[in-house]
Amino acid sequence: MSNLLVVAELQQDTFRKSVFEAVCHGKKIAKALGASVHVLIPGSIDKQQAAQLGEYGADEVLVAAEEKLKLYNADLYKSVIVNTAKQLDAQVVLFSATFLGKDLAPRVTAALDMVMASDITGYSVDGGNLQVVRPMYAGKVLAKLKLSGKCVISLRPNIFGAEKINEGQQAPVKDAQLPALESKVTVKEFSAKGGDKLDVADADIIITGGRGLRSAENFAMLEKLAALLNAAVGATRAAVDSDWRPHGDQVGQTGKVVSPKLYVMVGASGSIQHWAGMSGSKCIVAINKDPNAPIIQRADYSVVGDLFEILPVLTAEIEKNR
């Protein structure tokens, strides 16, 4: 029987949300390939929690609870993953296309001389080969790719969804075997993100502001609305280039590509490059004063008018409806 390896990412000693969809869809791919699913966790986690991945389809969970892996270091993480993939002779190594997955997956691919597809949004198995769908040109087109031989794939988060395939099932938890852990790169400093600021890449709801916001200060209105909805605040390229928002908040072809449940666009016209980065959102709402703005034609729902009048009313209405 062949093996599929899922790399699970921790955040503050617990699983990131993307882990569950990675394991669940790892299982679906493995089933079609006749493979079993092994999950590798670099870092330490409560055994009980690790075992619960069995519900999502894990046949075995390997924990690499090593002090050196507490802080993320690409070389060390890569070594552990490569070592485990070799031991299992893994047919497929699966990551979530998070910051960490995007950083690690290509290293693992090169070290194991496999083939790779990043940020996939769909897959199928055809005669033992994996076929994947992934956006190109930031989503302006979708490409269907055939991967020959052993491969590494990363799943775009928030696309696939997770379900408990084997309700109540616990997976056996073992210690992962560790290779020599060495890196020329040292982490000099790490400062965790202040407060609980939600990243646009992780958020279920995003409220994005554009040129129409007119100043950095005015984004406070979006922050207020976002706080009520547990949403992240995004920004257009124009807003970032005006130094109103950090570039980490930028959505679009030269920023982040996102696919939340709800994307609210305020005071932004919807340029091609921005649309490419957010058109995968399930529901798009536009608030814009120009009835002819491209975004008004394309959004699911829109309200035409002055955002400075509409936003406070919207915030109050949401608060009332909580």
């Binding site: 950083d103 290509p106 090169a110 790779m116 709801i205 570039h247 035409v304």
Partner: protein, 250 residues
């Protein structure tokens, strides 16, 4: 120390992408091509390091079809020292195949630092930098927003999705560049004049048998959309109702 910058020529961010009749290629007629925006940060950083005296020279390497020369010419206008064109008509979708060719080329070059964008905005693979590091056996730090070189050490700042990291690595190494690293400059008249006379050596390469094969390309499903709820604050109550009851997203 010498710097090698890897760049890619890509369609302009505002370009509409039209799929060709073979379903695999993009119609290039009338399309504007630019230097990949993230690679512009790499070029700018290399120029800054040369101005600061930490780097002696900058070599720009690009892979791609004949038109790629225009991007290399643009980099020469910015007064990099030399440009090299690895010519291929192959589809560069397989990241590892690309990284292997680059590794083979760069291996024989004299370099202390390799810079490139964090990703190319056409395929968005985000693979080649870290792969190249692996193949060359040197560290790769991705998504730099600040790069400081002191002696044979480099300190890099980057934003991860959980915070801010400061990393230190010996040279040689590879660093991929993120927006925020610097503000790319425009070419000077002098640079433009100089670039006209410079040669761009070409070398034919082949990506070999790629493990990633493009079967087809399609457009994403068009959104039906387009429902205007109303105008001004009066429309807000209905918007909230629709989001709650119809779309069920809040």
């Amino acid at each position: 120390m010498k710097i090698v910058v890897c760049l890619k020529q890509v369609p302009d961010t505002e370009a509409n992408i039209k799929i060709g009749s073979d379903q695999k290629s993009v119609v290039e007629a009338g399309m504007k091509f630019i230097i990949n925006p993230f690679d512009e940060f790499a070029i700018e950083e290399a120029l800054k390091k040369r101005e600061a005296g930490t780097a002696e020279s900058i070599t720009v390497v690009a892979m791609g079809p004949e038109r790629t020369r225009d991007a290399l010419r643009s980099s020469l206008e910015l007064e990099v020292n030399e440009a090299l064109h690895l010519v291929t008509e192959d589809d560069c979708i397989d990241g590892l195949a690309v990284a292997k060719v680059l590794a083979e080329q760069i291996k024989s070059m004299d370099y202390g630092l390799i810079l490139m964008g964090k990703e190319a905005i056409d395929d968005g693979n985000m693979q080649v930098g870290p792969m190249l590091g692996e193949l060359l056996g040197i560290p790769c730090i991705s998504l730099a927003t600040r790069i400081d070189i002191e002696g044979d050490k480099v300190t890099v700042k980057r934003n991860t999705d959980s915070g801010v990291e400061i990393l230190e690595s010996p040279l040689p190494c590879i660093i991929t560049c993120e927006k925020g690293l610097n503000e790319p400059r425009y070419p000077s008249i002098r640079g433009k004049m100089k670039a006209k006379k410079m040669e761009i050596p070409q070398q034919n390469i082949s990506l070999g048998t790629a493990g990633v094969e493009k079967i087809s390309m399609t457009y994403p499903e068009a959104r039906s959309g387009g429902r205007v709820i109303g105008e001004g604050p009066d429309a807000v109550a209905e918007l909230v109702r629709v989001l709650k009851e119809e779309a069920q997203v809040i």
